[in-house]
Subunit: 270 residues, 2 copies
Amino acid sequence: MSDNNTPIGVFDSGVGGLTVAREIIRQLPNESIVYFGDTARVPYGSKSKETIIRYSRQIVRFLRTKNVKAIVVACNTASAYALDTIEKELDIPMIGVVKPGAKSAIANTRNKRIGIIGTEGTIKSELYTEFIHGIDPDIEVLGKACPLFVPLVEEGMLHDTVTDEIASRYLNDLKKQEIDSLILGCTHYPLLRSTVGKIMGNKVNLVNPAYETAVSLGELLNQKGIAADKTNSPVYEYYVSDAAERFKSFANSIMPVKTEMIRLVNIEEY
Amino acid sequence: MSDNNTPIGVFDSGVGGLTVAREIIRQLPNESIVYFGDTARVPYGSKSKETIIRYSRQIVRFLRTKNVKAIVVACNTASAYALDTIEKELDIPMIGVVKPGAKSAIANTRNKRIGIIGTEGTIKSELYTEFIHGIDPDIEVLGKACPLFVPLVEEGMLHDTVTDEIASRYLNDLKKQEIDSLILGCTHYPLLRSTVGKIMGNKVNLVNPAYETAVSLGELLNQKGIAADKTNSPVYEYYVSDAAERFKSFANSIMPVKTEMIRLVNIEEY
């Protein structure tokens, strides 16, 4: 057995990062995953940079006890605040969701007008804007916070007239701004892709950072020569810091593989 | 100057407890208040009892540095999980929101059918049910979690057709159960009082624990002989563990007195 069959560590502040784990399962079906959702300390978007780095360090220490070969930060806030600091401390590769999502939007925009929707924390921090302007300062980045999207998704209201109405209010301004690409800048939002697409129309390219992250992860694993064997039967393990039952029911509503084993971790001990 | 003019300490996991502070300001206009909102560690509803006791102890230690004469636990979860333990450790009085709210509902129900709405954490923990049954086991307590109410309030959608629609879905079952009293069992919910009242109709008595808590606090201060002087000019101080700006804008949207001074506290040091 090769070491390459050790798992990928994936973490998020809660359930949202499951959309990233789901893309990894779809695109890299031989990779095992150890997922950690920090359900006791969710949400991260309203917390300070220092706090997010401290939390992310604890989670990385926990994931390393599971012998992970790479870490995916499936959380926008932690990708923006903690990734650069923590990857320097590690001898395994680490990638986040912000860069792959932003890069795809940059590559695809024709009129250089990119929209970004996310939580209040993500939009206020301008984390996508900063990264995009680092690559092309001429691109106009238009952000809009959609604070009700996460609770609507967690209530299972993915296809619902109320969700349509709220989405239409949130997106109305962005629609007028003639963006040609819209980044779904929160890990919950791919689950509202059809609602958002209906409102924005088919001329706006919806960028799903979860999808792009799985693509980047695949490339990274190949580059480093640590992709799992084609014969490897993957194992998916889930850990949370609180409320395992609630996590399980959400996971089973969106994941392609039934989620059986969810364990509670006292993350503050790491 | 009498010692009676020292402040009341009020704490909550976030902004919700401001509805309790607001009632204290209205009913006891000479009392000063030191408010602490644990915005870094919100929400409490999904955390364990041990964690809530530890957090509450830290907050009480912080409030005591402000020389408070009494403490109001303006948080349903902390009232249920931490109050009984911590009040034994203190030489100043401490009251929570659960008992005053539950007692008012018990005193007013005629058909012994009480409804309770709250966050998923509050409803699942059955904290109101347990207290009500301790006083009268014959009362039927019907709970319903309304997870979208807090984000809707925090979005300022207090009077909105979307909020009406969501409230009507949440309350539909409770309406059929012929309750005659409904406890607004989350500190955000008094801000949705008119929406909830419209749906439940005027035969259902809405119990606002924030209001009842301020009444109980007034009685307690009088009993102990520690009410502020009638000539005292109150001072209101606000402390949070994170995101002071967001707290300020919410406070200014609901408080009767403009909130200027909000300070950040590293609560984990207490």
